[in-house]
Amino acid sequence: MPTSATASSSKMLTLPTDQIRQLQWRFAERYDLQMLAQSARAVARSTVAQMVASGERNSHEWTPAKNEMLEAFDRAGITAAFMEPEEGGFISGPKNLALALAAFELAWVDGGAATASLAGFLALAPIHERGTPEQSRRYKALSAPAQPGETRKPWRGAFVLTEPIPYVGVDTGMLSGKVRIAGWPDGEEPWLQVEKRGRFITNIAFANFVTAAVTSDDPRIKGSCVMILEETDEGTFDHGTPTKKLVHQLSSTGDPIFNLKVPASRIVGGYTIEDGALVPKFSHGEVIEAVFRRTRVTVGLMTAAKLLSAVEPVIRYQRSRFRGAEGAKPGTVRYEQGIQQREDALHRLVDVWATGEAAASLGFATARLFDELDPIERQKTAIMAQRGIAGGRAELKALRDSEQRAVELLTMREGDPRKEEIVADPLVQFVLKDAEANVLCPATKLWNTGNGANMMREAVSLMGGYGITEDCPGFLASKWIDAQLEATYEGPEAVQRRQLTVTMTSDVFLAQFRVWTAEMRRVAATHPGTGACTLATGMRMWLWTLEHLQNASDALGSKLYHGQRQGVTFPLADALCWLLASRCQILDVLELEQRGAYDPSVADTVVDTVQFLSDLCHVHTARAAGEVSRICAELVFGYNEHPSWSNQACTSCCFSAVELDELEETMPGIAAMAVDVIEPNGSHPQKAGPCAGCAGASDFLQLQNKLCSCLSGSRLAKDRAAEAVSKVMIPEALDYPA
């Protein structure tokens, strides 16, 4: 049996191996994570794939087969991955990268399976992040899978925020759940009555407990909080009807109803009594912020997994497209290469692949960043507590000095004697990481899922009609529509853009961004083939545009950059995401090159793999720079009024024909250079008006001009990548059923 394609010794021989990915995504030394990835992969490509292949996605209801998937998660250690070893888990320390890897492997086959695994963590996350030690111990112990010899069933949880029912006039910013005092015996703990209706709640069909966001409906309770509700509590714990969603059918989604009486000790994080009122230690907003900023990263990685998972089935389809036909005899190019004879098929696949690489790099970089941030954040919390500073606003005020020091550090010259002292300041470290995380998290969620969904459509199109059938290897059509949900849940695109418009303009982040721009220039000097120079120019253009828009007004005199002007701020947020993804992609390739040379498992092949992945970087930076250029040009020029022939000002910017004739006598040739000329009869060239000037934006045009020439070589990189794709060896069959 011949291989699908003959590999050339000078090109990447196989699809990137596990060892390559471990180096790129920085877990080559973490065998706990490697084992988790292998376990999750085994479940995904057996239990989950068989379920999808046998049509389990065709029902909205929670079925015994779907339940079996949860048990497979338990057995494989996926459920316990969220927990510390003493809680029944096996991974110590921060787990953002761990959960990201597990979700990545599951989403490689089915996004719903990944969501089902994540939703359990999401239910526990409020307790993990903000719960009291007692709450944390109790619910993690109950949720931990049974150890060998144990017969108990682990508890499953669901996170119930709120989702306004369409068309009934409920604001998304309002909580639909209410809490009031049901009883407060003297000297005892208060009892609370919790009423809550959830919508689109994941994991609800089988949830034994939920963490529900509620707001006070009683003057004796201050603000809002998150409550823990158990299904055996007194009152109604109705799991509700399943949502008839068209996506992620391997996760349970429904609209539950709760009306329960619970002790006040179920308030996540606890409470204090002040002036006879019950004051939760954490508002629901504080809890949610701590939870979502981590879990959103994982969702972004799910879409990245889909894109990368599409590569192998598309290659196989393209190569084998004509096999069996009379005109395609073994040994002929038509037989061996199939559709891959055609440049377009290869180029489009390169685009999908490059996007997947960038999305994965961005997502994993963000997950790692949160792993770094977690302990620093705890350190910051302890320092604040020591100083008696509590509450969001007081903390922000207290951190202002650290922010200035962080900016100082980022702009400091090499060898500055103060550097060591500032670097060692944990609050400065927190501010730096926090500013970065505040941008990278929404960027991952927004760009990976939104742009990822668009690129999944491209991947589906590469399979022809086969792509939109249930039989399509790799379940590409399901992955395409699933990506749309990933762009929506845990904060839709508008929410991510809104967050970015605030966080991307922080002084600390912008100082960091300038450092990154310089970093890309340095990378370009040593690795010109990565497109880093193009990226650096795109970054400069984005920054120039931001600064310009922050000070500019539109033709009517209205300020351009402010919170309500989403036509300005949101596209700029979109543009930034392209740049961030490309930067992470390039850094991952550099890491692979550097570490791979010393790793015997990849040393023989790393050069060719790095070459291919560098070409993908170059392809992607060109696309990113193009997007940035387009968006920035629209914003810089789009709010200026176009000059008009009827405008009075027209007389000052246009020559009249008579005037030109006179000038021609003193400046011969000027008439030939004038474009906008008004004839004696008042007629003018057939166009919208005199050409617009570039007053105030000439620097931008210079940058754009530079950017255009920076694209040199990017298409050559695409040609090289396409050639590698046409020759890379792939397995004979997909390693999961379809």
Binding site: M1, P2, T3, S4, A7, L13, T14, T17, D18, Q19, Y31, D32, Q34, M35, L36, A37, Q38, S39, A42, R75, A76, G77, A80, A81, P85, F90, Q147, P148, D599, P600, S601, V602, D604, T605, M729, P731, E732, A733, D735
Partner: protein
């Protein structure tokens, strides 16, 4: 009663991969074998799971997994295998593949086993696959046994029942889908396993984490073993050709299909 079980288990390319024999500088090889994902040899994996079950029944018993192969590949495979059962790894670093000489392989394995500290040969049961999924020479394990001086050998084993006095009954596969039952007085013995009767254990990452404390150091200190071919020459190497004889017949009655099958079976 306690046992010391040593399981010899190599690694082979993932069966889903396309394998293409090529002529390498040192004889035949598989194209891009180093880059193909590997799995524990399925026959030997059965032996490992049977061994782990046996060890769990007899307190004080120990289980070693002796594996010969490229160190990087071994590490990749261990990430999965180490989650299944508890063992102590003895790794031998070698560019081994399906074309390696069985005698040289057996010699390297025997040396590795002989060097295991605390191994009590009077309690030793040497397990492995009765053949390998890479080539299926079917002689390696027996040779290891010979080199270690173990002469009680069983091949195609599907079951072992230990008795209180240390003796055991073994079921070996024989012709006609039957088993031959033998009773052995006790260790040491060599058992080349067929599939056994146990399912593949589920991954348990806690077992994995416990195993990794010994697996990673074992991989780091793995000794290199150069496998010599000793004048052996391969004239040619090719994959078995795929055979497919299909007839498309519409509306055939079930009885007629059954009859045809019976007739075909009779001719085999």
């Amino acid at each position: 009663m306690s046992l010391h079980i040593v399981v010899c288990a190599g690694i082979v390319p993932d069966p889903l991969q396309t394998l293409e024999p090529i002529a390498g500088p040192n004889g035949p090889a598989l194209k891009n074998e180093m880059m193909l994902p590997a799995v524990l040899d399925p026959w030997a994996a059965s032996a490992l799971y049977e061994a782990a079950t046996l060890v769990s029944k007899f307190p004080g018993s120990r289980l070693w997994l002796v594996s010969l192969g490229p160190k990087a590949k071994l590490q990749q495979v261990m990430m999965t295998i180490a989650q299944k059962v508890t063992f102590e790894l003895v790794a031998v670093d070698s560019a081994s593949n399906g074309f390696a000489d069985a005698s040289a392989t057996a010699s390297a394995l025997a040396s590795g086993i002989a060097a295991i500290p605390d191994l009590d040969r009077t309690k030793l049961l040497l397990f492995g696959g009765w053949e390998s999924a890479s080539r299926g020479a079917g002689v390696t394990l027996q040779t290891v046994g010979e080199l270690l001086g173990i002469t009680d050998q069983f091949a195609g084993v599907d079951q072992i029942d230990m008795r209180e006095d240390g003796s055991f009954e073994v079921l070996e596969r024989v012709e006609g889908g039957k088993h031959q039952a033998s009773v052995c007085a006790g260790a040491p013995a060599v058992l080349g396993w067929a599939t056994g009767n146990l399912p593949e254990p589920h991954n348990n990452p806690q077992i994995g984490m416990a195993n990794m404390r010994t697996v990673m150091p074992a991989l780091q200190r793995a000794k290199q073993a150069a496998l010599t071919n000793d004048g052996q020459q391969y004239l040619s190497a090719s994959l078995p050709s795929q055979q497919r004889q299909t007839r498309v017949v519409r509306d055939l009655a079930p009885d007629a299909i059954a009859q045809e099958l019976v007739e075909w079976i009779r001719t085999q």
